[in-house]
């Protein structure tokens, strides 16, 4: 029987070795001296040190990490929508000492710009393009910053929490038709302004759904009303226009 084959007692110690503080932390004073500012360090799950770096110091810190500390491989660039701000997270590796380091950069909300690290690690090219594609974060100094996975005409940045996968439409039950003017635009999804706190009310309500013939991201307005709506009930609330049939 396979189930009883080679039954050995469970070892008392776990497989993974004991967790020790990462040795890379001993080099942090040199890094802080190089960029002239103290860096908050925290340990994230998996015993990986994470440095919160100001956007102004990103390239200088990256150059120092690559040239002085041997972090030659940029593994990953991820964007993240933290609710009140966006952040870019870099994971860099030292192949000799097997150090892994995480750099977190909070994107300034006013400019929405971060300096590109493509001059430090050329592999940042596509990784930053993907982050721009999904979050709209602009990497200054990037030579070819355009969409990479999505279509060039796509409106909106889909990994933002404010993004709507389908536009709001008002479905007319009498005709089952939705006029293009009634399809809500992706125009509200372009920016990062006050529209980012759009409540997700899509999946409720019978009168709201996307007709198959509706252009997904048109440029029309949301019934001529202000966006975002206060509650989803207001979609039925105000009286319709004179020539418009009131939906049931």
């Amino acid at each position: 029987m396979d189930l009883t084959r080679n039954l050995s007692p469970l070892p008392p110690a776990p497989i993974a070795p004991a967790v020790t503080p990462p040795a890379v932390l001993s080099n942090m004073p040199a890094l802080e001296a190089a960029i002239g500012q103290s860096i908050p360090v925290r340990l994230v799950a998996g015993n990986v040190p994470s440095l919160d770096i100001a956007p102004a110091h990103l390239v200088a810190a990256s150059m120092f990490l690559r040239d002085q500390l041997g972090f030659s491989l940029l593994s990953c660039v991820s964007g993240a929508d933290m609710g009140d701000h966006l952040q870019v997270v870099y994971h860099v590796r030292n192949l000799e000492t097997n150090w892994l380091l995480q750099l977190s950069v909070a994107v300034p909300t006013a400019t929405n710009e971060v300096e590109s690290v493509m001059g430090v690690w050329p592999t940042a090219n596509w990784l930053e393009r993907e982050t721009y594609d999904m979050y709209g974060i602009i990497f200054t100094g990037h030579p070819d910053l355009r969409r990479i996975l999505l279509d060039d005409e796509f409106e909106g940045f889909p990994l933002l929490k404010s993004f709507r996968p389908t536009p709001l439409t008002r479905h007319d039950p009498a005709t089952t038709q939705v006029s293009p003017q009634q399809a809500v635009a992706g125009a509200q999804q372009r920016g990062l302004g006050p529209q980012r706190a759009i409540p997700n009310i899509l999946s409720q309500g019978e009168s709201e759904r996307l007709h198959p013939g509706t252009p997904t991201f048109g440029s029309t307005q949301f019934h001529g009303r202000e966006f975002p709506p206060q509650t989803w009930k207001h979609l039925q609330g105000p009286p319709p226009a004179e020539n418009e049939q009131k939906p049931r």
Partner: protein, 379 residues
């Protein structure tokens, strides 16, 4: 006619004028292994520039993961790199475990190692077989798919499905090993030793193959690291980087991997690394089967997984390179952010550098040696 031709050139002081030609390769092209489009600028037969256009298979897996519970996201990882779903699931499950501070039972970790190495063999078999098909040799893919079929059948027995296995769980694996499965795996491994020799003698040393791959698509180690190459591509260039060795996870702490490294840096070296990694995987599977411990296969986890607030980055050595998962948890049942660092996506970046200056006929030879899976590039 000939005189006319001569006259027309002799009138031009610079001789025959050529102009650059733009050639679209793909997205529907058998050698691109999916829906990849390469915009090639050709000067005669020489490629002067190559622009990959990707995104035809974009399904928004990262957005989907944000809208699924942690356990429900494992199934969507199958579709990222659809040639190695076991490895993808291990990466995602491992990231959630690291976030929650769970250690899977020892037996589960060994089963993970066995299935992961089986998947690596299967993926490399496809890579080698289709590469030879790209180069015009039809026979090796038949041998490769014949052997891979045995692995897929065993995946079906252990997980219930051949491709999208959905086998890993946060805290362990779904099913224990069925009765007789290990014996069948041993039989398969014994057969594969012969099949490996068969493939080796069939391909390696073949004069046409050597001439088409040796010296084609060379990457030096510094360039490979700068462009973020991982996996067999980096190891074929002499970069000693394998996460199973450099940053062991799970049962790789116990069972040491011998890294397959070559100094060639060309397409032939990448093929050789894949070929010998299959052999190394066979050795790992045999070792893990000999040491397979008993006990539970999954820790008890709550039905609704709510990892504490925080973030983590967990990477496994996939068949293509470093497959990393970056997770942010806000304390709820759904991941706030799940980023997939697909090795194929990063490895594709170097293709324009490799193509530059090569002849048109080498385009397929270079592209096939990268071993792309477009499901992982586009996600």
């Amino acid at each position: 006619m000939a005189t006319q031709f001569q006259n027309s050139t002799s009138e031009n002081p610079e001789g025959l004028k050529t102009e650059e030609m733009i050639l679209n390769m793909g997205p529907q092209h058998p050698s691109t292994h999916g829906v990849l489009r390469l915009v090639l600028s050709l000067d005669g037969e020489t490629v002067t520039h190559c622009t990959p256009v990707i995104g035809y298979l974009h399904r928004g897996i990262e957005k989907i993961l944000e809208n699924r519970p942690y356990m429900g996201g494992i199934r969507y990882m199958d579709n990222a790199d659809y040639l190695s779903p076991m490895l993808n699931e291990t990466a995602y499950a491992g990231a959630v475990e690291q976030l929650m501070g769970i250690e899977p039972p020892r037996r589960a970790q060994y089963i993970r190692l066995i299935t992961n190495e089986m998947q690596r063999i299967a993926s490399h078999l496809v890579a080698v077989g289709t590469y030879m098909l790209d180069l015009g040799a039809f026979t090796p893919i038949l041998y490769a798919f014949r052997d891979r079929e045995g692995l897929l059948e065993m995946f079906e027995e252990i997980g219930g499905s051949r491709f999208n296995v959905n086998y890993m769980r946060v805290g362990g694996v779904l099913h224990d090993i069925p009765v007789g499965w290990l014996q069948r795996l041993e039989t398969w491994l014994d057969n594969f030793d012969k099949s490996w020799q068969e493939l080796n003698t069939l391909i390696t040393g073949n004069e046409i193959f050597m001439k088409r791959t040796q010296g084609v698509g060379y990457i030096d180690p510094e360039q490979a690291i700068a462009y973020g190459m991982t996996g067999p591509i980096a190891r074929a260039s002499g970069v000693r980087y394998d996460l199973r060795v450099n940053k062991p996870y799970g049962a790789y702490h116990d069972i040491k991997t011998e890294m397959v490294v070559r100094e060639d840096g060309d397409a032939f070296g990448r093929y050789m690394v894949r070929l010998y990694e299959m052999r190394e995987s066979v050795r790992l599977i045999r070792t893990a089967m000999a040491q397979l411990p008993g006990g539970p296969i999954c820790t008890r986890t709550p039905i609704a997984l709510r990892p504490p607030r925080g973030e983590t980055y967990f990477a496994v050595e996939s068949s293509k390179g470093e497959l990393g998962i970056y997770l942010i948890s806000d304390g709820s049942e759904y991941p706030w952010r799940a980023k997939i660092r697909g090795p194929s996506f990063v490895n594709l970046q170097i293709v324009p550098e490799l193509m530059r200056g090569h002849k048109m006929g080498d385009v397929v030879a270079i592209l096939g040696s990268i071993d792309l899976v477009l499901g992982e590039v586009d996600r």
